[in-house]
Protein backbone atom coordinates (compact mmCIF):
# COMPACT_ATOMS: atom_id res chain seq x y z
CA UNK A 1 0.00 0.00 0.00
CA UNK A 2 1.14 3.55 -0.72
CA UNK A 3 3.03 4.85 2.40
CA UNK A 4 1.35 8.25 2.10
CA UNK A 5 -2.07 6.62 2.03
CA UNK A 6 -1.12 4.55 5.10
CA UNK A 7 -0.10 7.69 6.97
CA UNK A 8 -3.39 9.38 6.10
CA UNK A 9 -5.29 6.30 7.26
CA UNK A 10 -3.37 6.27 10.56
CA UNK A 11 -4.27 9.89 11.19
CA UNK A 12 -7.90 9.20 10.35
CA UNK A 13 -8.03 6.28 12.80
CA UNK A 14 -6.49 8.49 15.52
CA UNK A 15 -9.16 11.13 14.95
CA UNK A 16 -11.91 8.53 15.09
CA UNK A 17 -10.61 7.14 18.40
CA UNK A 18 -10.53 10.66 19.87
CA UNK A 19 -14.14 11.21 18.82
CA UNK A 20 -15.05 7.81 20.23
CA UNK A 21 -13.59 8.62 23.65
CA UNK A 22 -15.44 11.94 23.71
CA UNK A 23 -18.73 10.25 22.82
CA UNK A 24 -18.48 7.58 25.55
CA UNK A 25 -17.30 9.98 28.25
CA UNK A 26 -20.22 11.22 30.38
CA UNK A 27 -20.78 14.99 30.31
CA UNK A 28 -20.48 17.01 33.53
CA UNK A 29 -24.16 17.94 33.31
CA UNK A 30 -25.31 14.31 32.93
CA UNK A 31 -23.05 13.22 35.78
CA UNK A 32 -24.43 15.96 38.05
CA UNK A 33 -28.01 14.96 37.22
CA UNK A 34 -27.34 11.28 37.96
CA UNK A 35 -25.57 12.12 41.22
CA UNK A 36 -28.58 14.25 42.22
CA UNK A 37 -30.88 11.27 41.46
CA UNK A 38 -28.71 9.02 43.61
CA UNK A 39 -28.78 11.54 46.45
CA UNK A 40 -32.59 11.75 46.36
CA UNK A 41 -32.89 7.95 46.25
CA UNK A 42 -30.54 7.63 49.19
CA UNK A 43 -32.67 10.04 51.28
CA UNK A 44 -35.85 8.20 50.29
CA UNK A 45 -34.25 4.85 51.13
CA UNK A 46 -33.29 6.07 54.62
CA UNK A 47 -36.88 7.16 55.23
CA UNK A 48 -38.40 3.87 53.99
CA UNK A 49 -35.81 1.84 55.93
CA UNK A 50 -36.84 3.60 59.16
CA UNK A 51 -40.50 2.78 58.41
CA UNK A 52 -39.62 -0.84 57.56
CA UNK A 53 -37.75 -1.11 60.88
CA UNK A 54 -40.82 0.19 62.69
CA UNK A 55 -39.24 3.48 63.81
Amino acid sequence: MNPLLLQVLNLAVGEVITILIRRTDISDEDRARLLAVQERLSTLKDKEQRIADGN
Partner: protein, 135 residues
Protein backbone atom coordinates in the same frame (compact mmCIF):
# COMPACT_ATOMS: atom_id res chain seq x y z
CA UNK B 1 -11.99 -0.94 9.54
CA UNK B 2 -15.43 -2.61 9.71
CA UNK B 3 -14.80 -3.51 13.37
CA UNK B 4 -13.85 0.07 14.12
CA UNK B 5 -17.03 1.35 12.49
CA UNK B 6 -19.09 -1.11 14.54
CA UNK B 7 -17.42 0.06 17.77
CA UNK B 8 -18.14 3.69 16.81
CA UNK B 9 -21.78 2.91 16.14
CA UNK B 10 -22.22 0.96 19.38
CA UNK B 11 -20.51 3.53 21.60
CA UNK B 12 -22.36 6.35 19.94
CA UNK B 13 -25.74 4.67 20.48
CA UNK B 14 -24.79 3.88 24.10
CA UNK B 15 -23.96 7.53 24.81
CA UNK B 16 -27.24 8.64 23.22
CA UNK B 17 -29.12 5.97 25.16
CA UNK B 18 -27.60 7.18 28.43
CA UNK B 19 -28.41 10.81 27.73
CA UNK B 20 -32.03 10.00 26.84
CA UNK B 21 -32.43 7.67 29.85
CA UNK B 22 -31.45 10.21 32.52
CA UNK B 23 -34.87 12.00 32.46
CA UNK B 24 -36.50 8.57 32.90
CA UNK B 25 -34.41 7.87 36.02
CA UNK B 26 -35.34 11.34 37.34
CA UNK B 27 -39.06 10.78 36.69
CA UNK B 28 -39.09 7.33 38.29
CA UNK B 29 -37.36 8.84 41.35
CA UNK B 30 -39.96 11.63 41.56
CA UNK B 31 -42.78 9.10 41.28
CA UNK B 32 -41.28 6.92 44.03
CA UNK B 33 -41.07 10.01 46.27
CA UNK B 34 -44.72 10.80 45.51
CA UNK B 35 -45.85 7.21 46.15
CA UNK B 36 -44.01 7.29 49.48
CA UNK B 37 -45.86 10.50 50.45
CA UNK B 38 -49.18 8.96 49.31
CA UNK B 39 -48.47 5.91 51.50
CA UNK B 40 -47.75 8.23 54.45
CA UNK B 41 -51.07 10.00 53.84
CA UNK B 42 -52.84 6.62 53.73
CA UNK B 43 -51.29 5.78 57.10
CA UNK B 44 -52.09 9.16 58.66
CA UNK B 45 -55.71 8.99 57.53
CA UNK B 46 -56.15 5.43 58.78
CA UNK B 47 -56.44 3.77 55.36
CA UNK B 48 -53.19 1.86 55.94
CA UNK B 49 -52.40 0.33 59.32
CA UNK B 50 -48.83 0.81 60.63
CA UNK B 51 -48.17 -2.83 59.75
CA UNK B 52 -49.42 -2.34 56.18
CA UNK B 53 -47.21 0.73 55.76
CA UNK B 54 -44.27 -1.24 57.12
CA UNK B 55 -45.00 -4.07 54.69
CA UNK B 56 -45.35 -1.54 51.85
CA UNK B 57 -41.91 -0.14 52.70
CA UNK B 58 -40.35 -3.62 52.77
CA UNK B 59 -42.03 -5.16 49.74
CA UNK B 60 -42.51 -2.19 47.40
CA UNK B 61 -40.49 0.89 48.28
CA UNK B 62 -37.13 -0.53 49.36
CA UNK B 63 -36.70 -2.99 46.44
CA UNK B 64 -37.91 -0.34 43.94
CA UNK B 65 -35.50 2.27 45.34
CA UNK B 66 -32.58 -0.17 45.33
CA UNK B 67 -33.31 -1.12 41.71
CA UNK B 68 -33.59 2.55 40.70
CA UNK B 69 -30.23 3.19 42.40
CA UNK B 70 -28.87 0.34 40.26
CA UNK B 71 -30.36 1.94 37.16
CA UNK B 72 -28.73 5.30 37.96
CA UNK B 73 -25.44 3.50 38.69
CA UNK B 74 -25.59 1.74 35.32
CA UNK B 75 -26.10 5.04 33.51
CA UNK B 76 -23.30 6.67 35.50
CA UNK B 77 -20.78 3.90 34.83
CA UNK B 78 -22.05 3.13 31.30
CA UNK B 79 -22.25 -0.59 32.16
CA UNK B 80 -25.68 -1.54 30.90
CA UNK B 81 -25.69 -5.35 31.30
CA UNK B 82 -27.74 -5.31 34.54
CA UNK B 83 -30.30 -2.76 33.26
CA UNK B 84 -33.02 -5.29 32.26
CA UNK B 85 -32.83 -6.88 35.73
CA UNK B 86 -33.24 -3.52 37.48
CA UNK B 87 -36.12 -2.54 35.20
CA UNK B 88 -37.88 -5.86 35.81
CA UNK B 89 -37.55 -5.39 39.58
CA UNK B 90 -38.98 -1.84 39.42
CA UNK B 91 -41.88 -3.13 37.30
CA UNK B 92 -42.67 -5.93 39.75
CA UNK B 93 -42.64 -3.52 42.71
CA UNK B 94 -44.97 -1.07 40.96
CA UNK B 95 -47.37 -3.88 40.00
CA UNK B 96 -47.36 -5.05 43.62
CA UNK B 97 -48.13 -1.50 44.79
CA UNK B 98 -51.19 -1.46 42.53
CA UNK B 99 -52.45 -5.06 42.75
CA UNK B 100 -51.62 -5.95 46.31
CA UNK B 101 -51.71 -2.71 48.29
CA UNK B 102 -53.71 -0.01 46.49
CA UNK B 103 -56.45 -2.40 45.37
CA UNK B 104 -57.12 -3.30 49.01
CA UNK B 105 -57.78 0.35 49.91
CA UNK B 106 -61.26 1.84 49.83
CA UNK B 107 -61.87 4.27 46.97
CA UNK B 108 -60.01 7.46 47.87
CA UNK B 109 -57.68 10.13 46.54
CA UNK B 110 -54.73 8.23 47.98
CA UNK B 111 -55.75 4.97 46.31
CA UNK B 112 -56.14 6.70 42.94
CA UNK B 113 -52.83 8.54 43.42
CA UNK B 114 -50.88 5.32 44.08
CA UNK B 115 -52.50 3.56 41.10
CA UNK B 116 -52.06 6.48 38.68
CA UNK B 117 -48.47 7.23 39.66
CA UNK B 118 -47.48 3.56 39.54
CA UNK B 119 -49.03 3.21 36.09
CA UNK B 120 -47.17 6.28 34.78
CA UNK B 121 -43.88 4.88 36.14
CA UNK B 122 -44.67 1.49 34.57
CA UNK B 123 -44.95 3.15 31.15
CA UNK B 124 -41.52 4.80 31.59
CA UNK B 125 -39.97 1.52 32.75
CA UNK B 126 -41.51 -0.47 29.89
CA UNK B 127 -40.35 2.07 27.29
CA UNK B 128 -36.82 1.92 28.64
CA UNK B 129 -36.97 -1.88 28.71
CA UNK B 130 -37.86 -1.92 25.01
CA UNK B 131 -34.96 0.49 24.33
CA UNK B 132 -32.41 -1.81 25.99
CA UNK B 133 -33.59 -4.67 23.83
CA UNK B 134 -36.05 -6.44 26.10
CA UNK B 135 -39.38 -7.76 24.84
Amino acid sequence: MKKLLLVILLSSSCATFRHSSIPVAERITTILEEISIAADTATNTGLFTREQRQQFAKEVMLPAITATQGLAGCLLSNKCSQLPLYLTTISQCLLKAVNQFASALPDSTVKRAIIEKSNVALVYVNNLYVKVGGK
